[in-house]
């Protein structure tokens, strides 16, 4: 996440490439074999698509080349109606425009990859377990929602195969209906079963909270979250005054903490073997934060180094480079993946067969 902040601050291609490399390193070294960990490839593909779309749009809808700019190539020009002159379609495509579009795209792609990496590395369910007690019910709801996706995919595959048995193809509106009806039915049945199961296992025991206290908690949490959002936006968007950012952030945090403390008091629940937070965790967080701080503060760079002129060969500022490399340390510092996981994939396939017939 810190890398994402860093990326949003620069369009220097060398630095962007470096960030990509660091992400790749961390992901390959520290990912597990769990299903969510296989998604990184899709994020990369999506990132490429983003770059391509950005460039194509820039080329087609370029607002004309300024005189004296190098022209890469010319597209057939489509005359736009006279009342709509802001945008030209086609026409000459300047090199500078394409390059800056590529870099812009790369920045966006880099952000995507950062999010992708975070998703790949963190077990969403484990992340939710860190939630404070007051948010426990919300956490369980999200956990359950997360587990629905793979089940839906499984159902769709099963029903699609079953459809072939009735001699029908897999296309068209009728096919959508024929697949959707059994799948939705399945999903509903399953969620009812799950809800019954959770209820009978003590989920949602209130332990004597009053209605008023619940309302106060909710109000505190909502305003707090709104404050946090405003603050985060203020901090990340360079054009906003710093004061707004920090102020919003601070107030939001305070309100949230108050809400959580109040809510946490009424929760009668314990946690089994909570995930420890020891020095590797601190180290990882530290690496990321250091990198972000250096790049957003613009330390060690002369004005243009982070956003260089797209046509010249970019310089490689020393300090930001080091900062990004520090983030790479996270790969080494992070706690190793539990050994038991490595034996899972073969068994998983077997069980997928066992559990649901031969689903695939």
């Amino acid at each position: 996440m810190a890398l994402a902040t860093a990326a949003s601050r620069t369009t220097n291609p060398l630095l962007l490439l470096l960030i990509f490399a660091v992400l790749g390193l961390v992901v390959t070294l520290r990912r597990t074999d769990a299903p969510w960990a296989r998604g990184y490839r899709f994020y990369l593909i999506m990132a490429l698509v983003v770059i391509v779309i950005r460039v194509v749009f820039r080329a087609v809808f370029s607002s004309g080349a300024a005189p004296g700019q190098a022209i890469l190539f010319r597209l057939p020009h489509l005359p736009a109606p006279s009342w709509y002159t802001g945008v030209q379609i086609g026409g000459p495509v300047p090199v500078a425009g394409v390059l800056s579009a590529t870099l812009d795209g790369a920045r966006l792609a880099c952000l995507l990859c950062c999010i992708g990496a975070a998703n790949t590395l963190a077990n969403p369910k484990r992340a939710l377990r860190v939630l404070p007690g007051a948010l426990n019910e919300l956490g369980v709801a999200v956990t359950v929602a997360l587990s629905v996706a793979p089940q839906l995919v499984e159902s769709v595959q099963r029903v699609r195969r079953a459809r072939r048995l009735r001699g029908a193809g897999g296309r068209g509106l009728r096919a959508v209906r024929a697949i959707a009806v059994p799948v939705l039915h399945d999903a509903l049945d399953r969620s009812l079963l799950l809800a019954a199961g959770m209820d009978s296992r003590g989920y949602g025991r209130t332990g004597g909270a009053t209605r008023a206290s619940r309302r106060v908690t909710a109000a505190l949490m909502l305003t707090g979250l709104a404050g946090l959002c405003a603050g985060a936006y203020g901090l990340l968007d360079a054009s906003m005054p710093r004061g707004v950012g920090f102020g919003g952030f601070g107030v939001g945090t305070l309100l949230c903490v108050a809400g959580l403390a109040l809510g946490g008091r009424r929760v009668a629940r314990t946690r089994y073997r909570p995930d420890p937070w020891r020095w590797p965790e601190w180290a990882v967080t530290g690496c990321g934060v250091a990198c972000a701080v250096v790049l957003s503060a613009g330390l060690g760079t002369t004005g243009g180094a982070l956003t260089p002129d797209p046509l010249s060969w970019p310089p490689l500022p020393l300090l930001p480079t080091l900062a990004i490399l520090v983030a790479a340390l996270a790969a080494v510092a992070a706690p190793p993946v539990p050994g038991s996981v490595s034996s899972v994939p073969a068994v998983a396939r077997e069980a997928a067969l066992t559990g649901s017939g031969a689903v695939r």
Partner: protein, 557 residues
């Protein structure tokens, strides 16, 4: 421990109450078995114990249910979580977390048990159910039997005094089911937990039961000691039926009891059972389907390796083997819709391998009813499904397949007639999803039969069927075999295989390890022997029907 006092349940919009005037006491430490047909209210009775009925399902509860001193009218299910543990038919659907350890801890977390004793209880439970080796495994990667034991364990960690189990073994192969039942009996005997258990396949649990509660289906409940209730009950395992037939008293409940009373019966029986009563198919018995060297591979896992088989007209074959041995994969590969990595399939009269034909032609050669028949059904009414089936069947390519199929089976009736033949009395305006499991199966089978396939493949059709529905399925299969279809049934149910099939194939690790006539295969292996065979060994009798037929001339000379 559990007391029902003039309890009744009526669901909203239902014409008659599901249960009425139920008065019943279940004492501490009992293993109480609940039996009855599908729809007789078993699940409702069980869910009423922890208050899911009526809090969760809706409906009106009359009378009182008192569990461990608490009235379920005043305590919600979540408040009863420490008293009643519940495990359902499909453990996977009830799992909240994703690893074994977290799942076991979940209930304790909800009950706010302090972390130290949580660790201790968790370790105890792992050992008690013999799942210590699985503690870090992801739940989805476990086999069905293991999942069920984890579900029971998850209910147990809260130290409930009552454990309610709704058909815990219905989806399991015989060996896994034994594991689960062994765990349950251990709980009853070692910990004194009161267990209330509903089960279709009585032959597995009856020997362990202290009390049987029979729901005849009219909303009333008949409870008593097992032998007494079963002498009257409409549902009974083969060993009880045999006991009734032979007039044994007390009625045997286990193979062991029956075996001790059997010598006299064995001397009365002729040494060879009478020929099968099935109307044998009169036509030629040339192979109708030949499969060679079938391999099904999913990534690195080989589900089926080099399996070959031939099917003949008028023959019903049971495909058995433990969960995950490749039965389903083989059926799907033969039909042509599933994955097949290598191997060939030829169907007599078919121009080509079913896998190379378009789907609607392939289904005229071999029809498959999948494990969840409801996957095939997607319209609003039974009538619409049938009409759609007729339309699909008429659309198939007339040049390539219709001609062959017509040759293979000249009788091609409409879907409605077929359904009437299989399961008369299904209301045509009902929603297919509202039908019982047996009726859904019949409807799916009718839809597939409309295409008049020469070969019919059924994947686990007996899952969730009660004795009546199974008997109906047996009759249907008899008739279809008599009409000249070749049938393959993948099943775990030994008794069903003994009654309906002429030939048994056993799969293990993706290979067909045994293939032979039902009588010799089923009597040869102890795991796959039906109860009657176990009682009457060394005589090669498989079913009560055979014994009855053998005794009939002697009784009425």
């Amino acid at each position: 421990m559990i007391e029902f006092d003039r309890m009744g349940v009526r669901y909203d919009g239902a014409a008659a109450p599901v249960l009425r005037e139920v008065s019943l006491r279940i004492e501490e430490g009992e293993l109480c078995l609940v039996i009855g047909h599908t729809g007789s209210g078993k699940s409702t009775l069980l869910a009423a114990i922890n208050g899911l009925v009526p809090y969760f399902t809706g409906g009106t509860l009359a009378g009182r249910v008192v569990v461990g001193g608490r009235d379920t009218a005043r305590f919600r299910p979540r408040e009863l979580a420490g008293v009643v543990g519940l495990a359902g038919q499909d453990p996977l659907a009830g799992f909240v977390t994703d690893t074994v350890e977290e799942e076991l801890a979940y209930t304790m977390e909800q009950l706010a048990i302090d972390p130290a004793s949580m660790r201790a209880r968790l370790e105890e439970t792992l050992d008690l159910l013999g799942i210590a080796g699985l503690r870090n495994r992801a739940l989805r990667t476990l086999s069905g039997g293991q999942q069920q034991r984890v579900a029971i364990g998850a209910a147990l960690t809260a130290h409930p005094r009552i454990l309610v189990l709704d058909e815990p073994t219905s989806a399991l192969d015989p060996a896994s089911a034994e594991d689960v039942l062994a765990s349950i009996t251990r709980l009853v005997h070692d910990l004194g937990v009161t267990v209330v258990l509903a089960e279709h396949r009585l032959e597995r649990v009856l020997p362990y039961a202290d009390r049987v509660v029979w729901l005849p289906g009219d909303g009333t409940v008949i409870a008593g000691d097992p032998a007494g209730v079963l002498a009257r009950a409409g549902v009974a395992p083969p060993v009880v039926e045999l006991g009734r037939l032979a007039g044994w008293d007390p009625l045997p409940l286990s193979v062991r009891d029956a075996r001790r009373q059997a010598p006299s019966l064995r001397t009365r029986l002729p040494s060879a059972p009478p020929a099968a009563r099935r109307m044998l198919y009169a036509g030629d018995v040339a192979p109708v389907l030949t499969a060679r060297g079938i391999v099904v591979r999913y990534g690195g896992l080989i589900a089926v390796r080099e399996a070959g088989l031939t099917l003949r007209r008028g023959e019903c074959t049971a495909l058995m083997g433990r969960n995950g041995s490749g039965k389903s994969s083989l059926l799907w590969a033969i039909q042509g819709s599933g994955r097949r990595s290598a191997g060939t399939v030829t169907v007599a009269g078919g121009a080509a391998d079913p896998a190379s034909l378009p789907a609607r032609d392939a289904r005229r050669l071999a029809g498959l009813v999948p494990q969840t028949p409801a996957d095939l059904l997607y319209l609003d009414t039974v009538a619409a499904e049938l009409a759609q089936a007729d339309q699909d069947a008429a659309q198939a390519n007339p040049v390539r397949a219709n001609h062959d199929a017509a040759q293979a089976n000249p009788v091609r009736a409409g879907a409605r007639e077929i359904l009437e033949g299989i399961a008369p009395g299904i209301p045509l305006d009902a929603h297919p999803r509202d039908l019982s499991a047996g009726q859904q199966l019949a409807l799916a089978l009718a839809v597939q039969l409309t295409a008049a396939p020469a070969v019919i493949l059924l994947d686990e059709p007996t899952r969730g069927l009660d004795y009546q529905a199974k008997a109906g399925l047996t009759r249907t299969l008899d008739r279809l075999a008599g009409q000249g279809h070749a049938i393959v049934v993948a099943t775990h149910d030994v008794e069903f295989a003994a009654r309906s099939c002429d030939r048994v194939m056993v799969m293990a690790e993706g290979e067909i390890v045994t293939d032979g006539p039902a009588a010799s295969v089923l009597t040869a292996s102890p795991t796959f022997a039906p109860q009657v065979a176990k009682v009457l060994a060394p005589l090669p009798y498989l079913t009560v029907g055979q014994v009855e037929a053998a005794l009939a001339p002697a009784v009425t000379p």
